[in-house]
């Protein structure tokens, strides 16, 4: 007789009774419950919770199948259920984190490996062609030169510090590629951030401004980046994000140098800069080294300019103090959006 498998959804925010069972199942598989998971698919058989898979936006995490039930193709049903759940939530391009030794298992789910941190974790996506198509688009934007720079900005919002970094990099390079983080998890929308960067770099001739993508500091490739204010970081996985840059994006555009501002304030960004040197320059990889150049931050009146300082002044409504820190288009946007509001921004997402 075959036992009946009952698949259903569980939302951690409702604190359902299943959470304890999920936690136990994960613990039995050396996994920890990830606090970012929005919804789980679970499988119950004869009253027991025997399998689960979690979904955080477009990323699948915390997948476990009870030991005794392996080899029954239960996992393929689980995979189908989670892919369908994602589709119902409007997510078709999916990522998945797995221990490297489980990679063959997730190949059966239609996921393909992108990058691996040896012995630790591998990032997979559910398409055999998406990354290649993305790189193909990037290759069309290649520019000739010996020194090709790359900068990734969140620019939340764009400051004179960002402009200084971009100008400095552009002078040192034959061509500079600038990416704006696409994830809408910051105080300022992607649209606003992108427009302010575009306005702030238009005077530079040897520069291409690129839209962000799922592959550059996104919730999928670098979840920790968007959690830095909540201080609940399960995994920052900066290595994953940096390896994607080194193994796909940099080769597609011929990027030889990655520019970044020094980070005196924010611990997540500061450790990101250290990780950058490790994963772009030192770690063994089949791809060429990308040299990391840290540019000391521009200071005004003895204090380094940072977007977080700008947001802090904005929270106080101190527009006079903001003026020397941001270019005119940013100041106009800040005034338009915030001047007439007694807006308490403390506690707002400030990634």
């Amino acid at each position: 007789m075959t036992a009946k498998n009952d698949f259903y959804e569980v939302q951690p925010k409702d604190a359902p009774p299943e959470m304890e069972e999920i936690r136990n199942l994960l613990a039995n598989n050396d996994l920890r419950l990830d606090a970012q998971i929005q919804v789980f698919v679970v499988c119950r058989r004869n009253g027991r919770l025997v399998a689960c898979a979690g979904l955080d936006h477009q990323t699948i995490k915390c997948v476990a199948v009870a030991q005794q039930l392996r080899g029954e193709s239960l996992s393929l049903t689980l995979g189908t259920e989670v892919v369908k759940l994602a589709a119902r939530r409007g997510q078709f391009h999916l990522f998945l984190y797995s221990a490297p030794h489980n990679l063959p298992f997730f190949r059966g789910w239609g996921f393909y490996p992108l990058v691996e941190v040896p012995q630790l974790v591998v990032l997979m996506e559910n398409s055999p062609i998406a990354m290649e198509e993305y790189c193909e688009q990037l290759r069309e934007q290649r520019r000739p030169g010996r020194t090709i720079g790359g900068i990734v900005l969140n620019a939340n919002p764009f400051t004179l510090g960002h402009r200084y970094l971009v100008e400095k990099a552009a002078r040192a390079c034959d061509w500079l590629h600038v990416f704006v983080v696409k994830e809408d998890a910051s105080l300022f929308s992607y649209e606003d951030r992108f427009a302010l960067v575009a306005a702030g770099v238009q005077h530079i001739d040897n520069l291409t401004l690129h839209p962000g993508s799922d592959y550059i500091i996104s919730r999928a490739t670098f979840p920790g980046y968007f959690l830095k204010d909540t201080a609940i970081i399960d995994h920052s996985w900066a290595a994953i994000d940096l390896l994607l840059f080194r193994e796909y994006i940099a080769p597609a555009l011929g990027i030889t140098h990655r520019y970044v501002g020094t980070e005196p304030f924010d611990p997540v960004t500061s450790s990101y800069n250290a990780d950058m040197k490790r994963w772009l320059q030192q770690a063994p990889s089949s791809s060429a080294i990308v040299t990391v150049v840290e540019v000391p931050r521009l200071s005004v009146g003895g204090a380094a300019i940072s977007a977080s300082a700008v947001r802090a002044l904005l929270a106080l409504g101190d527009f006079e103090a903001l003026k020397p820190l941001v270019p005119p288009p940013t100041l106009r946007l800040l005034q338009a959006k915030f001047a007439d509001r007694k807006h308490n921004l403390i506690g707002a997402r400030t990634a």
């Binding site: 193709s73 393929l76 189908t80 589709a87 078709f92 398409s127 062609i129």
Partner: protein
Amino acid sequence: MKVIKEAISGTLESSDLLVKVAPSEKGAIEIVIKSKVIKQFGKQIRRVVTQTIEQLSVTAGSVVIEDKGALDCVIRARVQTAILRGCGSEELEWEKLS
């Protein structure tokens, strides 16, 4: 008819297939087939997929298939379902589905 939105059909289980369709950026038909039995039946699978798409008069769309050894009739049914979902078709032309 063109694929205008992302859609899926099928499952990952043995003897079935998962079909994903999406709008094509190049405005053409793009087919990618991954199969456990690509060496034995790759050509035949591609023939069935191409025929099914042509019969539905689809002119643009990306079709990615994860096949687990499905029979031709299953492949046809799953591809039809994914395409019709992705094209947002309300009315079915049954003669094109035979």
